[in-house]
Amino acid sequence: MFFHIVLERNMQLHPRHFGPHLRDKLVSKLIKDVEGTCSGRHGFVVAIMGVEDIGKGLIREGTGYVTFPVKYQCVVFRPFKGEILEAVVTMVNKMGFFAEAGLVQIFVSNHLILDDMKFQSGDVPSYTSSDGSVKIQKESEVRLKIIGTRVDATEIFCVGTIKDDFLGDISDPGAAV
């Protein structure tokens, strides 16, 4: 799920950046530092929407760096248990398949794939339903439900299922919404 939240961060800036464009430097550094990172609590920082407030800088002794507390608005993405996501399959193996929704990696175990769908090894490994009408392979788009998340400091890993109504392959143009 996406959230628009305000976060705070202490930015350290090299003295060479001090000058009329200090603020810009700070913001660009913030964007560089923060976008794409993952925090266990908030999830992935997708984009910084704006800077609310830049506090007073504090010179750090010895280094000359200055620390600014920066409050910024950003969009974060955090997967939740039970959430329905659409994801792109990145890898298929006999234990299930991996899919990615943005930065979030989701594993769908073969136990959580319809029993009807069987693993087909070969050049392009895939899960194929017995009548062959549905095929999940690399690059397929699937809709899945997250049943568990594991949040590390730097990564969010989810386990998903497609064993439910309206879940599964959606790459078929006819079925896609």
């Binding site: 234990m95 175990s109 568990g148 890993f157």
Partner: protein, 1040 residues
Amino acid sequence: MARRDHDDDDEIEEEDEEEAYDLDEEEEEDEEDDYEEEARRGKASRGGGGRKRSREDNFIDDSAIEDEDEDDDDDDGGGRPRKKGGGGVRGFFDEEAQVDEDEEEEDEGEGEDDFINDAGADLPDENVIRGSRRHSIPMRDEEEDIDEIERQVRERYARSTHIEYGEEAAEVEQQALLPSVKDPKLWMVKCAIGHERETAICLMQKYIDRTDLQIKSVVALDHLKNYIYVEAEKEAHVKEACKGLRNIYASAKITLVPIKEMADVLSVESKSVDLSRDSWVRMKLGIYKGDLAKVVDVDNVRQRVDVKLIPRIDLQALASKLEGREAVKKKAFVPPPRFFNIDEAREMHIRVERRRDKESGEYFEWVDNLKFKDGFLYKSVSTKSIHTNNIQPTFDELEKFKKPGEDMNGDMASLSTLFANRKKGHFMKGDAVIVVKGDLKNLEGWVEKVEDETVHIRPKISDLPKTLAFNEKELCKYFKPGDHVKVISGVQEGATGMVVKVEGHVLIILSDTTKEHIHVFADHVVESSEITTGITRIGDYELHDLVLLDNLSFGVIIRVEAEAFQVLKGVPDRPEVVLVKLREIKSKIDRRSSAKDRSNNIISAKDVVRVIEGACKGKQGPVEHIHKGILFIYDRHHLEHAGFICAKAQSCLLVGGSTGGRRGNGMDTADARLGALRSSASILQSPGRLPPRGPIMNYGGRFGGGRGGRGHDALVGKCIKIKSGPYKGYRGRVKEVTGALVRVELDSLMKIVTVKRDDIADTPTVATPFREPRYSLGGETPMHPSRTPHHAYQTPMRDPGATPIHDGMRTPMRSRAWAPMSPPRDNWEDGNPATWGSSPAYQPGTPQARPYEAPTPGSGWANTPGVSFNDAPTPRDNYANAPSPYVPSTPVGQPMTPNSAAYLPGTPGGQPMTPGNVGMDIMSPIIGGEGDGTWLLPDVLVNVLRGGDDGPGVVREVLGDGSCRVALGSSGNGDMVTVLPNEVEVIRPKKSDRIKILNGNFRGYTGKLIGIDGSDGIVRLDDTYEVKILDMVILAKLAT
């Protein structure tokens, strides 16, 4: 007995037609046979065979009466122990009576009608008692009035059940039943070990026979060996009773059991009743020792258990045994457990009978007295020969026991065993649990409080009372898919993962580290947010360490198990995982090393590379370890082997790095560092140490690395004669030089021996001829002067270093015709005496070797200078910076005299640089003869060896820096690409191909290859129709 057996058989044949009760009858009969035998044996031991019958008659009647008396007594006294004893005796008599009837019916040979009637009448009764009947001692030919007995028995039986032991009594009443001073006392009497029961029976019989005995009861306990208990008022009574018994020694001490302990003597140990149907046990003895077995039936009286096992049967042996052949007994051999296959057995002419089991009514296959069903062996064993406690069946074992299609869920067996093995404090507050037994089965809830065995749970359903109390055994932990759990016991202990599926009480977990499925019991896990790999360290070795193994192989630890490591060995192309114990690991490999990728880039740890060939083609990830040219790459998308991939450095490509030697100026410093590293390390055996990205390095490398190896190089590949020692007189070729030792491949013996260096004498003929013409002094020397002025201080350095160059030059050529990376490789080879021997491909001097003619150096130079000129400011700088540090380390006066001349072609390496800027044409003449710059020429057909654009191409244009523009496709009609010289390889012409001469005096000429003679090609030039013999190396196929 013989007659009976016959009867049996008959009956079996008729089985199908006969009625059910008939079968029952038959069963009994069989049983009786057994017991009869037992009884006889017993009789014999008592020595009163003749008296048996009358005795037994008495036995029944008297005992019945006695017992009743006793009961009365009991009622008066109310002593608990006595009652127990009494009960036992009563049971005993019941059985007697029952069996007796059957016997008689049989023996009297009454009409069929009667028979059936009687049997029918008995049936209900039997059902009640059958379970405990086995222990009977059969009596035959009784002429008693059956009805009378039956009546008596029933009467007594009814009464005995009527006279309750106060089961319903309140606790206080129970207390009142405890023995007091007024009650008879309990004496402990020592008897022969193993004969406790027998002694007790004997005493009982004695009591029956002799009414004057004043003992009240006798008890033999299963768990107490060597002693029996006798209940009597006085010690003298006990003595009297024991007198003359075979199993009680006259001198045996008789001990009084204190009143307080009397109750304990007979209290039943709850532990011993654990054994129940469907629980798991392990065999203690025999070939099945340690095997898991499932209890199918328990006979508490006889202390026997029927178990179901996976048979370990050697059909071959069985077959030969059945055929009467005496199979050779191989003691050590234990057949592996395997399901019994009837068809297989029949094929081996083993007779398989299908018979119905008398007790269960199920059909079994019988083979040589072994019972099989569904492939399992059914075996009756003593309770003493099995382990019942703390059985932790592994998942694999259970899987095997699982019939196909049978759901693990319904397998209460595993549950019951699991329960028995639970640790204390299994449940904790907050645990999610599910009720697995009783009325509230499947109720979910959370643990609120735990009191010993009672667990209070808060049910999930709101209408129920706030907390419910359950016995611990009625509960099981409960997890939902998606829960993150940690395994706390069992084989997988320590692993964490996310629950993917719940199958009854088995969870399928996706391990955090291995991304593999793990099957565990719900009981073995706890919910946890922790993420671990389990144990990550044993001793000094940690997960993901690169370690050296015993047999000099190496690998990365990819999993740490309880006592061993799983190591992915450093074998490229095919992942090889071995399980090694701590002691099998020699050391940790902690050196920082680097390797060269396909395009000659230096790969060091943490660089991201892509595998471009081999089994793992396409994988990409950071390099975690490098050793001996093998990379261990971590690809997070790779699920096997904890994400590790093992690949040759040469089959990888640095991602983000340039594919040529095109590193910028900034490399100078790095190079120097690397060079230093190299020269300081005396064992330069890993290609990982390979130097340099830029040309500078080449020089540096050569000087530095050449230090130790140079002398050796000259020797390696040479034909020598051994002049002393055990191999004196042998000729051979030097394979490798290590210190003072030389490994020599003997020409005559086809083997490699190690001899002292002092023991060999050069035979200066065989290997050298290749060299001589090429590096003839005459050709080169003249150039020397011209060069020297330019690089005044270069020459001295170069001198010592040259030899390796020369040698090295040859090697790459051999291995890959065109050696796109030759210079760096040379260095490596130089510095690496070890590799000479170990990698045959690089062995110089081997006869099939292609000539090491100048062109290689040329190709090397051609590239490097080109590059260096682009990137590096001036040659002078290069030399000044990089190589100089190594000068001191270069030993002077290596015994390489013949080659000191030979190094000369290398020297030009310095030379062409200057002209390199100017252009090819200038350079070639300077170099003269077979100059070194095998610059490509237009229209030459080449193989492009670059990541994406592999394939043939036609050179269209050669740029100043040595790179060229190549049109892809064998006819040159594909895309135009610009490639570096080391990314292309000239296509060697075949006979009668049109060629272009790349080097030498005829550089640029075209012609036709009219023949090939070894390494020389016979060429007819187009212009002059002259026939020339030229080295194949300088010939390139022309595009058609």
